[in-house]
């Protein structure tokens, strides 16, 4: 008797659980709050890469100007020595 009732009761409990989960998810979507999985998927390292690229560009471009001026200075000094 007990064993007979366990299966349908488990099925009923699982369906009730699914219904509650679906209701919570639908309520979250209606409220505009993304589910946890979507929220985690939105977090990536792309903004960090862009920040590092911008900061590296500053060093490369200013460093390039310094090297360019130094090379022109050396060329003029060599010309003066000749």
């Amino acid at each position: 008797m007990m064993m007979k009732n366990i299966v349908p009761r488990s099925l009923m409990l699982s369906l009730a659980g699914l219904a509650v989960t679906a209701a919570v998810t639908l309520a979250q979507e209606a409220a505009g709050v993304p589910p946890q999985a979507s929220r985690l998927a939105e977090q990536n390292l792309r903004p960090y890469w862009h920040v590092f690229a911008a900061y590296a560009l500053v060093i490369v471009v200013i460093g390039g100007w310094v090297i360019s001026i130094a090379r022109r200075l050396r060329a003029i000094e060599d010309r003066s020595v000749e």
Binding site: V51, A54, W65
Partner: protein, 229 residues
Amino acid sequence: MTTAGMRRGGVVLTVLGLAGLIALYWMCFFWVSTEVNQGVIQRIFYVHVPAAWTSFLAIGFAALASGMYLWLRDDRLDRAALCAIEGGLVFATLVLTTGPLWGKIAWGTYWTWEPRLTLTLLLWFIFVGYIMVRNSTEDPDKGKRFAAVVAIIGALDIPFIHLSVVWFRSLHPEPVVAKPDGPTLPGDMLATLLFGVLVFSLLFFGLFLFRYAVEALRAEADLRARSAA
């Protein structure tokens, strides 16, 4: 100031500027708080805005030197304008590369033809145009005069760039510091930004002096070569 004095001054200011750049990076990565809406990408602001300020300073300085050159016809003023324009080109390049890196995250696109971006690109072309015009004539004095006019006209772009976000419907954020009712940035962000402006200005003036010394030496070498021939 002698050429050797300019070189020394240039080296001192550049070394100070580079030390300041290291301090600025430390502030940006470890000290300043993260902006609540944009997150970490907002930190590009601390190099993008100072670079824009320095490019405005450069074209303003070049226009002033060019105006005085047209009046006094002193080659030192033309050399000063050329060196300022070269610096302006460097910093305008930084504005036009760091801005899109921010825009891709904030707007979802690297580039859009909105007024401030378009006018900043125009400023970059004015810097390039100055150098091209200066080197495009057979008579060097004529090239210098034409280039001086380009620098003066180019400086008129600055108020348009600054006010474009107020005058037109624009995607670009409005000014947060240079506005009539004062800065609206939190204290630590404002301090980092102003320190960035100081560092970029030091780098500009340091490298400007260094570059000017090179041009002065070139002029001396040309004069010696002409008198020897």
